[in-house]
């Protein structure tokens, strides 16, 4: 595996960040729009947003943990 393993972990971490960024970005855009349209429902909208953000973030963090494991389980990564 060696160097390519670490390279792959780096690329994977970046891809996970891109995915999470796009997801949270879209979520935030829709939330702001909905709050602007209906300010009186902002409490409910915010609750739904945090819940969904947690789901998106959970998947992204799963990717990051896998990348971290690649680096740490790689003999060259720890050395």
């Amino acid at each position: 595996m060696g160097t390519f393993g670490i390279l792959g972990a780096g690329i994977g971490a970046g891809l996970a960040a891109i995915g999470a960024g796009m997801g949270i970005g879209r979520l935030a855009a829709s939330t702001v729009e909905s709050i602007a349209r209906q300010p009186e429902a902002s409490g409910d909208i915010r609750g739904a947003m945090i819940l969904t953000a947690a789901f998106i973030e959970g998947v992204a963090l799963l990717g990051e943990v896998v990348c971290l494991l690649i680096v740490f389980l790689n003999p060259q990564g720890v050395a």
């Binding site: 609750g47 819940l51 947690a54 789901f55 959970g58 963090l61 799963l62 943990v65 990564g77 720890v78």
Partner: protein, 383 residues
């Protein structure tokens, strides 16, 4: 009021600065600096609570000696050779024929003495050590380590802190019945009310009171542990995957033991799905059963990864001082990067204090949502 704010601000700043000094003190000037080893050492769970090392003179090779300031925790384990064992020190382990290496316990063959020095360090390169292990470790004996490690000690400390804080809050409730809250109660009451009204009630409805004690304990335990992990000398309790796994298992049990008939029908006989997908090719039940396990699994990973990531970030930023200072050989580099590292670390610390409460909130909220989904009965609204 302003005085209190100013005082607490200065106190917080002092805590952060002292935290930095503590991290910075761990540098070992005689050896080459290894950032990933240092970070892992700080993040992983150990059998001793290591605070710092004090340099104490040099030996004949010019190598600095260090006296560690550490609390060594006793070993408590079950071995298939000797049964339950309780051992106070590394020497005691050697007497009974065991050796601790990288925080794992190994049973040695009879008559073998471990190659450790007085401080429990082994002066061998990896290949020699492997050969030694293959020859002298008795692999037929299985050892189950049940010791109280640093993380479990810190969990107990968090538990004691919570008992003190919340018995004070409860006393406040008793004393101030029908009156405005006072003292520490006024800080915690809004948070308790928030969990009750914004987390428990919207999802659990009339059953909220039944689950509220557990939800509040869960929230405050995660929050307190996270904050405790940000103070100097302390480990990251919630950055230990075993701890978050245990919490996730509790959530899993809570969901499935409280599942109503409708919950199980939704899993095995999902309404509104063609029967081919349920009984012909059982695709829906498989997906639903996987879903039962992925919910707590995601909870476990989320909390672990968030808290670990914060600790990794702080430690990496502090390690920058040692990397650029070449571990004491190039003080200019260290002093040059220090303001930047300090500013970044302070910013991350503040962010982590926010993350501490957000993650506690999300864990509690998702547990509530999942339990609420399991409790729902669909008599009134079919879909």
């Amino acid at each position: 009021m302003l005085m209190i704010v100013r005082k607490s601000f200065i106190l917080t700043l002092l805590c952060l600065v002292s935290g930095l000094f503590v991290f910075a003190d761990d540098g070992n000037t005689t050896e080459e600096f290894d950032a990933s080893e240092t970070i892992l050492h700080h993040v992983l769970d150990t059998h001793d609570w290591h605070i710092t090392d004090i340099p104490a003179g040099k030996d004949e090779h010019g190598k600095t000696h260090y006296i560690p300031i550490a609390l060594h925790l006793p070993w408590f384990f079950y071995s298939s050779r000797d049964g339950m064992q309780f051992v106070g020190s590394t020497e005691g382990l050697a007497e009974k024929g065991y050796m601790a290496l990288h925080d794992h316990l190994y049973a040695l063959k009879p008559g073998v003495t471990p190659p450790t020095d007085a401080h429990g360090h082994i002066d061998m390169d990896e290949k020699t050590l492997e050969a030694w292990e293959a020859e002298n470790v008795d692999h037929h004996v299985s050892v189950y380590d049940l010791s109280i490690t640093k993380a479990s000690l810190h969990m107990i400390m968090v538990g004691i802190a919570m008992m003190l804080v919340f018995s004070a809050v409860a006393r406040g409730y008793k004393r101030n019945q029908g009156k405005a809250p006072s003292g520490i109660q006024s800080f915690f009451e809004p948070i308790i009310i928030f969990i009750r009204d914004e987390v428990a009630k919207p999802y659990l409805h009339d059953k909220a009171a039944r689950f509220l004690p557990y939800l509040l304990s869960l929230f405050f335990f995660i929050w307190f542990s996270n904050l405790f992990g940000l103070t100097p000398f302390n480990s990251n309790v919630m950055g230990n995957i075993s701890v978050t796994a245990a919490l996730a298992v509790l959530t899993f049990l809570l969901i499935n033991f409280n599942g109503t008939k409708d919950y199980w029908i939704h899993i095995f006989n999902t309404p509104g799905v063609p029967w081919v997908l349920k009984f012909g090719i059982p695709l829906m039940p498989i997906v639903e059963i996987i879903g039962v396990f992925t919910k707590p699994f995601a909870l476990m990973i989320r909390l672990f990864a968030n808290i670990s990531a914060g600790h990794f970030m702080v430690l990496s930023l502090v390690c920058m001082i040692f990397i650029l200072g070449k571990n004491g050989a190039q003080p200019g580099g260290a002093f040059g990067i220090m303001p930047l590292s300090f500013a970044f670390t302070t910013a991350i610390f503040v962010l982590e204090m926010v993350v501490a409460i957000i993650q506690a909130y999300i864990f509690t909220l998702l547990t509530t949502v999942f339990v609420g989904m399991a409790l729902e009965s669909h008599d009134e609204h079919h879909h």
